[in-house]
Amino acid sequence: MLLIHCPWCGPRDESEFGYGGEADIARPPDPDALSDAEWADYVFMRTNTKGRFKEQWVHIHGCGRWFTLVRDTVTHEHGEAGVFGGVEPEADG
């Protein structure tokens, strides 16, 4: 079980978190401009990375915030969490 560092709450057990899959899948600004294949790629296709993988997690049984995490899918090594939308946790929450 991973020990994940929530940017707002600090290190917590993986069981407190929800998994949100691959990060940086931006919603297309104009879906109608996309071909069926491009839209399907956004909706259905995800990379199945072996190695370092940027993914998103939510501290669902904690502060409820989403953040990103780079995790190695082979070794489960993971680094510091990143935040969304430029909202930084306060220095001394």
Partner: protein, 1008 residues
């Protein structure tokens, strides 16, 4: 059974750690025995001799106790009876208590008379893979034979039985954090814990045995010229006194996981048996998060294989030493020990001291002189360059054969018969690297010591020390333990400097290296006769490994699956390495080229009860009750679970049948007034200037036009265009909305909104807050409903002009602040009155007193289905679009929303998808089965063309017959057709396809 004749008298070295003042009676296979406090079930039984207490898995040959701990392959027992019964426990790990009851697990009908012994005599026709070759091969009818024989084979091969009755015991779970977790309380582990504790670390030391000490418990070692157990006692004294150290006795670490998370099982009440004090849980599951971990798990001795090495009375050499030294039991008078390394010399000395005649066959041509001299001086007959090549006996050892072993492993000439009733074998040591393997580390082959050692896991914060790391002498164990504990503390940030203790051990003169030896007899020296087992638990012989090699099952994975080597409850703790080495010899490869075993958690089996802890029965899942629950319960409600909620399904009056109650409730709503507890509906409070933008993006319909004081129904889809929730959202103020969700989806919808708000649209200024539990909701519906609500003490104008359909009003009801939604799920005029949760019971009582009939979820289902209103999760299943349901009116063409683009994908745009339709059975007394498959022609030859399924089906009091909603391929274009719905058992019912609305199609009643 005669008395405990093999219990040694109490004197200096063989007095043991048992309490002779506390005799304990127990029963095994129905016979009475007596042991002492401090015994295990195994040691107490061995005091009566090495009698058969199990049967082999495949050949059903008699088996006795082989080891002393977790490595035990034979002595599996069923402990206790009834709901408390546990199968497949190792007798070597069961602490004896008064009144203990246990029995053998693998003997049919009994251990003394085992019918399946016939398998041994027939064994030439039972080689590896026999069952599969015979019963599951390609031959005609092979599958049928397997089905016929499988129950018999399974019973023949069975281990213990799972209890049928509920477990009466209680289990607990504990979470703990520490700087350093030390696994194992032998010399290395104690030394590591002391070093870490001295540095000020928070330390947890987990040791699986009844008392820590590890190998020192044998009682024949000394540290600083005093008995080593004195050092153990002093170390435990220091650790127990240290404020930040927890010593977990009887606690087996079962698994090691990412980021140094460990699970461990502590035996608490179990050692007292059924009479355990009430306040103690049977087991406690520890979930430990450690900054650093030190593995001081010791090593398992392994045997080498020889003919009939499974006979009761053949044991691991060091196990014999522990039984003699720790438990004062030596189950024999004449011992023959076979070894290829130094460790058996301590066993020989201890047995000689206990008065046994001892022959020690050392496979090495030149045993270390100091050890050999000491043994000879003690009266041990040391035979250099010799091995035990066979055992004579059957039900127990009656003699051994000792022969000279040549450099290539062959036996030279005829082996010599030696009188013996106890045979010990030591073929070397396998570091217990299971936990390191849990972290994914491939073991490393150590050629000099002929063993696998754990890989370097420093980068993961895991260290190994002592025998677990390959140490062979006590001084190294203490030294490595200290260093590992110090390093772990330092890495965990504890930098206080300490002084290393200088300890004097009794390791004595330098020993000699091991002579690798895996099997004698069968493999090369045919003619000695008798099976030579590699894996005692799975009855895998040296021959089976050779057969696997011949048939090209050469990798470790194939070897395991073909022969079953390393399977079972012991997972090959005494067998795996030998099996790999033998395969290597067959195929001309070193053992690590054959492969290594990947150990997975748990290290030893963990009872389900320990994993479940308190999460069973009523505590399995939280139960949510609405504020009106007590009233429901007192008034005949039959509850159904909706998510975690208890919702009234229907209210039975007097002796009324359930169906009659539902019928009555439906009629009450259609003809008078009913009231339903709708408190469970998900309620999300949305505030902020950008709420309308959010609603426009997450709902399929348009929200710009919704005015304050009005409510609107919406459908929510995923990006694939499929519906996942629906509900009504009301605008309470310019920037304040209240969204309702389905009961089961409340948390999911809130999570969905939060995900989009946080990860995709952080610029939207919206606060989303769950307020589900803050309100109690009573839905009043029916032609008499307006009269009824108008009678409440309230400042709300209930008239249709002031409060039309799809409007929302705030005010007071019975003095409580209230939000009232005029929405209808029943098709009748209907008001949803929301008041603060604690006011719910009073509101409910007032509505009942006013004459409303309470109705439950089933009446609600009938009422809404008559109207063709969908339930998400019933009419939808994640593959259904709004258009499929004929709800294109709720899909905006002007704006973008989540899922919209998907409606242009060819598959979602198809005109002949499955559509929501109504079905009327031609025989109106029929109620079609929900889930029933729809076909055109039930007589069609299979595969029958499936057209869809029934999603909701009820008997309607209003229609006086059965009716259903269904998803039917191209259904909207099939109105009036007759289709057939397959029954769940046999046959089919014809039904006519109609529009999915059966009652008041223009909606006049709910607007009235």
């Amino acid at each position: 059974m005669s008395g405990p004749q093999y219990r040694l008298p109490a004197h200096a070295l063989t007095g043991g750690r048992i309490d002779r003042d506390r005799p304990l009676g127990f029963s095994f296979n129905g016979e009475r025995f007596t042991g002492y406090a401090g015994d295990t079930l195994a040691s107490a039984l061995l005091a009566y001799g090495s009698f058969p207490l199990a049967r082999g898995f495949k050949y059903h040959r008699p088996r006795g106790i082989f080891g002393t701990g977790a490595e035990e392959p034979n002595a599996l027992v069923q402990l206790e009876t009834g709901g408390r019964s546990q199968p497949n426990l190792r007798a070597t790990q069961i602490e004896l208590y008064g009144g203990l009851t246990a029995s053998s697990v693998n003997a049919w009908p009994s251990v003394e008379f085992d019918l399946m012994r016939v398998n041994d005599w027939l064994s030439p026709i039972f080689p590896s893979g026999f069952y599969y070759k015979t019963f599951m091969g390609a031959g005609i009818g092979a599958g049928r034979w397997w089905r016929l024989f499988e129950p018999f084979i399974r019973r023949a091969a069975g281990f213990g039985r799972a209890p049928a009755a509920p477990d009466p015991d209680r289990y607990e779970r504990m979470n703990a954090h520490c700087d350093v977790l030390v696994v194992g309380g032998g010399p290395a582990g104690l030394s590591a814990a002391l070093a870490a504790a001295n540095r000020g670390s928070r330390v947890i030391l987990a040791d699986e045995q009844a008392e820590p000490g590890g190998d020192l418990l044998a009682g024949d070692r000394s540290i600083d010229d005093a008995p080593a157990m004195d050092w153990v006692a002093a170390a435990l004294g220091k650790l127990d006194a240290a404020p930040d150290v927890t010593v977990l006795r009887r606690t087996a670490v079962a698994g090691l996981y990412d980021d140094n998370f460990a699970t461990a099982v502590e035996s608490v009440g179990e050692r007292f048996g059924p009479g355990a004090p009430e306040h103690l849980p049977r087991l406690r599951l520890w979930r430990i998060r450690a900054r650093r971990i030190v593995l001081a798990t010791g090593a398992h001795e392994r045997p080498y294989a020889f003919a009939n090495n499974d006979t009761p009375g053949v044991m691991l050499g060091n196990a014999i030493r522990h039984y003699a030294g720790r438990y004062a039991v030596a189950p024999g008078r004449q011992a023959v020990l076979g070894t290829n390394n130094d460790s058996a010399y301590r066993t020989a000395l201890l047995l000689a001291q206990a008065g046994l005649a001892v022959t020690l066959a050392d496979a090495r041509e030149t045993p270390p002189a100091a050890l050999a001299d000491a043994a000879r001086n003690a009266g041990v007959a040391v035979e250099a360059g010799c091995v035990v090549s066979a055992v004579v006996g059957g039900r127990r050892v009656r003699g051994a054969k000792v022969g000279r072993v040549l450099p290539d492993g062959e036996i030279s000439g005829a082996p010599r018969a030696v009188e013996a009733d106890l045979v010990g074998v030591s073929g070397g040591w396998n570091p217990a690297l299971h936990l390191a393997s849990h972290r994914g580390a491939k073991p490393v082959w150590n050629e000099a010591q002929a063993c696998f050692a754990p890989a370097d896991l420093t980068a993961l914060g895991v260290g190994a020390a002592g025998a677990a790391a390959g140490a062979e002498i006590l001084a190294d164990c203490l030294e490595q333990g200290y260093a590992a504990g110090r390093d772990a503390a330092r890495a965990a940030g504890r930098t206080k400097r300490t002084r290393k203790p200088a300890l004097k051990t009794d390791d004595g003169a330098a020993g000699a290296p091991i002579r690798p030896l895996w099997a004698v007899a069968e493999r090369r020296s045919g003619g000695i006769g008798g099976k030579a087992f590699v894996d005692l638990q799975n009855d895998v012989t040296v021959k089976d490994v050779a057969l696997a090699a011949r048939e090209n099952y050469r990798s470790v994975e194939h070897l395991k699956r073909y022969t079953t080597l390393g399977m079972g409850t012991d997972q090959g703790k005494t067998a795996n390495v030998t099996g790999l080495a033998l395969m290597g010899m067959e195929t001309g490869r070193p053992p690590d080229a054959v492969g290594t075993t990947t150990f997975r958690p748990p290290y030893t089996p963990v009872p389900f009860g320990a994993l479940a802890g308190r999460d069973r029965g009523a505590l399995f899942d939280p139960v949510r009750e609405t504020p009106m629950f007590d009233w429901h319960e007192a008034n005949g409600a039959v509850f159904e679970d909706v998510g975690q909620w208890k919702r009234p399904y229907a209210y039975r009056r007097g002796g009324e049948a359930l169906e009659a109650a539902i019928d009555r409730e439906v009629r009450a709503v259609r003809n008078a007034a009913g009231v339903m507890d709708a408190s469970t509906l998900g309620k999300i409070d949305l505030k902020g200037p950008d709420v309308v933008t959010l609603l426009n993006r997450v709902y399929t319909n348009d929200w710009e036009t919704l005015k304050v004081g009005r409510a609107r129904y919406g459908l929510m889809c995923h990006e694939d265009g499929m519906i996942f929730d629906d509900g009504v959202t009301a605008r309470l103020a310019d920037d304040h909305y209240l969204m309702t969700t389905t009961t089961g989806n409340a948390a999911t919808v809130l999570g969905w909104l939060e995900m989009w708000l946080q990860t995709e649209w952080p610029e939207l200024r919206v606060f989303a807050t769950s307020v589900t539990e803050a309100y109690a909701t009573a839905t009043v519906a029916g032609p008499e409903a307006r009269r009824l609500v108008s009678g409440l003490d309230s400042d709300i104008d209930w008239s249709d002009e002031a409060f039309p359909h799809m409007a929302v009003r705030t005010g007071t009801v019975l003095g409580a602040p209230a939000r009232v939604f005029r929405v209808s799920f029943s098709g009748e005029a209907s008001w949803e009155i929301n008041v603060p949760a604690h006011c719910g019971p009073a509101l409910w009582q007032a509505l009942i007193d006013g004459g409303a009939t309470p109705y439950g979820t089933e009446a609600m289902h009938v009422l809404r289905a008559e109207k063709g209103f969908i339930i998400v999760g019933q009419e939808t299943d994640g593959t259904v679009t709004p258009h499929d349901l004929g709800m294109g009116w709720a899909v905006s063409k002007r704006k973008d929303f989540i899922g919209k683009r998907s409606y242009k994908r060819p598959d979602t745009a198809r005109p002949d998808r499955k559509h929501l339709v109504g079905l009327l059975p031609l025989d109106s007394s029929t109620v079609l089965p929900e889930g029933g498959q729809i076909v055109n022609d039930p007589a069609q030859e299979p595969p029958v063309t499936m057209l869809g399924h029934v999603t909701s089906s009820y008997k309607s009091p209003s229609l006086d017959g059965g009716f259903a909603l269904a998803l039917l391929k191209n259904g909207r274009n099939r109105m009036g057709d007759t289709v057939h719905v397959l029954r769940l058992d046999e046959g089919a019912d014809p039904a006519r396809v109609v529009a999915p609305a059966f009652y008041d199609r223009d909606g006049g009643r709910m607007r009235g």
